[in-house]
Amino acid sequence: MSAFVESFRTAAALVLDGYPVLWRTVRLSLTVSLTVCLIAAGFGLAVGVWLAGARFPGRRALLLILNTLLALPSVVVGLVVYLLLSRSGPLGSMGILFTPSAMVIAQAILVLAVIAALSRQLIADSLRDGGDQLRSMGGRPLVCAALMLLHERWAVATILLPAFGRAVSEVGAVMIVGGNIDGVTRVITTTIALETSKGDLPLALVLGIVLLVVVGLINGAIGVAHRAQGKAMDFAR
């Protein structure tokens, strides 16, 4: 128990002293995860709109694959991206293995599946409600599906949150393709894994708390926005 308390005490001291390794790691984690979310949101929402709005042969099979990708093991993605980016791999000439770019690619694959699958479901549900009306007004299927993203923008925000959560808390893939190089590709999760294995619990603990605070802040922001919108609706009534 005393070791646990002591770890917390040292963790607090690290934060108060502005321990440079801590903030460098946090900054890299957030930069990589936000980049991942931006890229994956762009592609994932487009895929979600396309799969919800378009009708083509093989669509059901594609949906099955997409839903399966939701449970994609991150180490498998890490391994595949590693093979692609390694010197002897097809993309080896890019020379980005063990860089933040490789981490972004691996995480984007993981997060894209989440955003695409959840946004497709969200849009499909909305189209069941109002799709006939929008088509009756002259909307083409893909336009109607895209409009549903605007209609469900707050729900889209709540899809992007777990997507960011998955990116920032991911460890397997970034460890493989990033290599956990100090000052280059060491992020919060890989630092926690490393420091815990070394027995340096205070740094691991403070990084864990930072991780929770970051996700909590984003969740809180979306909650506040939701409530603000609800209040606006109530006021308008």
Binding site: D129, G130, D132, Q133, L134, R135, S136, M137, G138, G139, V143, L147, L150, H151, E152, R153, A232, M233, A236, R237
Partner: protein, 237 residues
């Protein structure tokens, strides 16, 4: 196009939902400026016939649309409003209908004035009352200047005062010469608004008569029973 000119025609159309035949060998011709009320019990095929006339349901048989009747719109029983302001809902409908940007603002303003919703233009459309939402849905369709406007039980879930307002709006559309096709359970409404009544029973047309003849003449047993169930003696005479 003058009154009496055929705008829309369906011949021998059949619609099936799985094992259920919703429409069986239905033929109907709609002329310019008519207000046609489709009446019948629940499940008689009124909504399906509206959808078949509008061309939004898969059917066998033929559907012929005059060039002047290509612009069509449909208002549903439960209006679907995007989570946007009243003004933006109108603007989007006009954009979907391909109305040039230069005329959208004037059209939307005119539509709001017609529905008596000018004061509420910046309010969230979903925060309006049911009656206001239905009026907005009607003028949203009207603003696109459709040659034919389809209405699926437009006053079904409204209180008497909202019903009256919606009926007044529909009467003004009809007075402007717009062709209206509406399904309704409200026989009094059919009598007040329609120029022609089509009675459906189990997916077939059992009667197709001018309104005064439908409600004034001796009609066969089933129809008479249906009318007695829905009309008071005062409304019938």
């Amino acid at each position: 196009m003058t009154s009496g000119t055929p705008m829309l025609r369906v011949d021998g159309i059949c619609v099936r939902y799985g094992d259920v035949a919703a429409l069986r060998d239905v033929s109907l011709s709609i002329e310019c400026g008519e207000v046609v009320a489709l009446i019948g019990a629940n499940g008689s095929g009124k909504t399906t016939l509206l959808q078949a006339l509008h061309g939004v349901v898969v059917h066998t048989g033929t559907r012929t649309v005059a060039p002047s009747a290509k612009a069509q719109s449909m208002v549903f029983q439960r209006p679907f409003m995007l989570r946007l302001s009243v003004w933006h809902n109108l603007q989007l409908a006009l954009w979907l209908a391909g109305i040039p940007a230069a005329t959208r603002a004037s059209r939307a303003t005119e539509a709001l004035q017609r529905a008596g919703l000018s004061e509420l233009r910046y309010r969230q459309a979903r925060a309006l009352s049911s009656g206001q939402q239905q009026r907005l849905a009607l003028v949203r369709a009207w603003a696109t200047r459709p040659a034919v406007l389809f209405l699926d039980e437009p006053t079904a879930s409204l209180d008497p005062s909202a019903k009256k307002e919606v009926e007044a709006l529909l009467a003004s559309f009809a007075a402007d010469g717009m062709t209206l096709e509406m399904s309704t359970h409200n026989l009094g409404q059919a009598k007040r608004l329609a120029t022609r009544v089509v009675y459906l029973d189990r997916g077939t047309i059992r009667a197709d008569l001018p309104t005064d003849r439908f409600f004034g003449e001796h009609v066969d047993g089933d129809i008479e029973l249906f009318l007695k169930g829905g009309l008071t003696t005062w409304e019938m005479h």
